[in-house]
């Protein structure tokens, strides 16, 4: 049921991609997103596809899992494509009926947008699939460190993210528990119109909120008891080091970027 959500889940597998430094992985993902937007021809799309597929293969994550991550985005992708098909003006008209026109640029745009969105979702879900939440927030904290000079609380942001990520499974579990309990008191979450269904969720949401506040309070006390006082002067258990895998991944990323940019500039 609720636990079927794969977006943002981490799969603990032993692979090369898993071993890349989280800082590098986050930066590479950002880079990858920019590069995906540069793609606009068969060659460049082919290159992006080749790159993405090789990363998936290297990460040892099943293709079905990756495809599953597209499921929640499918609606957005389809809507974007449809809007592009019908609302792009162009000279070369492929098909028209009364005021509806489908132009060649429209179709091309639609395919472009759909492909881009697919690659974006695949790329960013690979980041969370292959990086444990702790590593991810560690990486983010390190990357935000330079901004702490201008007053950005990088450690606090990372800590909040860690805690939020840590409690997602707990909250899901608890939601399910409360739902089953209310179901056994005759609650019905599956039938009725949207307003009725939203109302049926009240007996689930109120206890969930109350328990969350209580838990947050307890957690804060527990952290204070262990002398937590923010990021200042705090050392860490795992010190991130730049290793050989990171060097390789950097080279591959550079080659990929150069290829994409040259093809883009040359308009191939």
């Amino acid at each position: 049921m609720l636990t079927d959500i794969t977006l943002g889940q981490y799969f603990p597998i032993d692979s090369v991609i898993h071993k890349i430094d989280p800082r590098a992985k986050i930066l590479f993902t950002l880079f990858y997103i920019i590069l995906v937007f540069l793609a606009d021809s068969y060659v460049t799309y082919g290159l992006v596809a080749l790159f993405s597929i090789s990363v998936v293969v290297l990460s040892k994550i099943k293709f079905t899992v990756v495809l599953k991550s597209l499921k929640p985005m499918l609606f957005v992708i389809i809507i974007t494509a449809v809007i592009n098909v019908f609302f792009t003006s162009g000279t070369e008209i492929l098909w028209s009926y009364k005021f509806i026109k489908i132009t060649k640029t429209g179709v091309v745009n639609a395919v472009n947008m759909a492909l881009r969105l697919i690659f974006l979702v695949v790329g960013s879900s690979l980041l969370t699939y292959t990086t444990s939440p702790i590593m991810l927030t560690d990486g983010i904290e390190r990357l935000l460190k330079p901004f702490s000079k201008i007053g950005l609380p990088s450690h606090e942001i990372a800590m909040m993210m860690t805690i939020a990520l840590r409690f997602i499974p707990t909250l899901l579990e608890e939601t399910e528990k409360i739902m089953t309990a209310q179901k056994s008191r005759g609650a019905d979450f599956e039938s009725g119109n949207i307003i009725k269904r939203a109302k049926a969720l009240i007996p689930v949401l109120i206890p969930l909120f109350i328990n969350s506040f209580k838990r947050a309070d307890e957690l804060a006390t527990a952290m204070e008891c262990r002398c937590y006082r923010g990021g200042e002067g705090r050392t860490r258990l795992r010190v991130l080091k730049f290793g050989i895998i990171d060097l390789f991944s950097l080279i591959i990323m550079l080659v990929f970027s150069i290829l994409m940019i040259t093809f883009g500039v040359l308009n191939i």
Binding site: T180, K183, S184, R185, G186, A187, P203, P207
Partner: protein
């Protein structure tokens, strides 16, 4: 109301790396009016098993009959079954949500379309059944003490007037007084209203003091389903699956090893007191 379970199995997360067998080919039969104790380790499949009994979890294979009606069949009216089988979850006080105790207890019966008058009378009945004063009805459930909350939550289930009551560790986290109150209330329901009760517990003492028969679940399998006298005879078997006989039975067994034979089948404090008095009398 009788319960009949036939070769029921259930696997969590089928086809994922997190696959886990929770219930493995379990069959048993509970007659109307019986008081059953269900014991087993954390993760042994107890909770899954009891959730199957009112259709919250559908078994992968096997059949469950409640009063002869197969609840695993398609198109069965689960809502009706749920009103007949009251399920009190672990820490039920976390499900309280309404502004007042009255409204919270009324949630169950109003889901089953009971009339206002019916709800009124049933609430007055259950609030005294769980040993609370009716002045509590207008209070917010969140300002009550832990034990009171627990009782309100149990009242919320009782208000559906179930024929079978299943309780998952109803005494967990309560102080001894609260514990005894809850257990006395459950015993009372069983004796006076003839309710079929299934009590899940970790405490051998709670089980030994109350139930007619004991069901032991270990590693997703039903290990034993028998009278307490039979179950507590075999303390080795219980130890092997990480459980134990009640404290007082352990004392009696120790005494036996030291040459003081008080007899068999002693698993409540009362029985032990009687046996010791009898022994002392005979010796002198």
């Amino acid at each position: 109301m009788s319960i009949k379970v036939e070769n029921v199995s259930f696997v969590y997360g089928k086809g994922t790396p997190f696959e886990k067998k929770a219930v493995d080919d379990i069959s048993f039969c509970v007659k109307k009016g019986e008081f059953i104790g269900l014991i087993g380790h954390t993760g042994s499949g107890k909770s899954t098993l009891i959730q199957m009994l009112n259709g919250l979890i559908k078994p992968d294979s096997g059949k469950i009959f409640i009063n002869g009606c197969d609840i695993t069949a398609d198109k069965v009216n689960l809502k009706e079954i749920r009103s007949k089988i009251g399920l009190v979850f672990q820490y039920p006080e976390y499900q309280l949500f309404e502004e007042t105790v009255y409204k919270d207890i009324a949630y169950g019966p109003s889901n089953f379309n009971k009339s206002k008058e019916e709800i009124d009378s049933v609430i007055n009945e259950v609030i005294s059944l769980v040993g609370l004063d009716s002045s509590i009805l207008e209070k917010s459930p969140f300002e009550l003490s832990g034990g009171q909350k627990r009782r309100v939550a149990i009242a919320g289930v009782l208000a559906m007037s179930p024929d079978i009551l299943i309780l998952d560790e109803p005494t967990a986290g309560l102080d001894p007084a609260g514990r005894n109150d809850i257990l006395a209330c459950i015993k009372n329901l069983h004796e006076q209203k003839g309710m079929t009760v299934i009590l899940v517990s970790h405490s051998m003492e709670d089980i030994a003091n109350n139930v007619d028969k004991i069901m032991i679940v270990s590693d997703a399998k039903l290990v034993s389903f028998d009278y307490p006298s039979e179950i507590f005879k075999d303390s080795e078997m219980l130890k092997n699956i990480g459980l134990n006989v009640p404290q007082v039975t352990r004392v009696v067994n120790h005494l036996k090893q030291k040459g003081i034979n008080l007899g068999n089948n002693i698993y409540t404090v009362e029985a032990a007191v009687d046996a010791i008095l009898k022994y002392v009398k005979e010796e002198s």
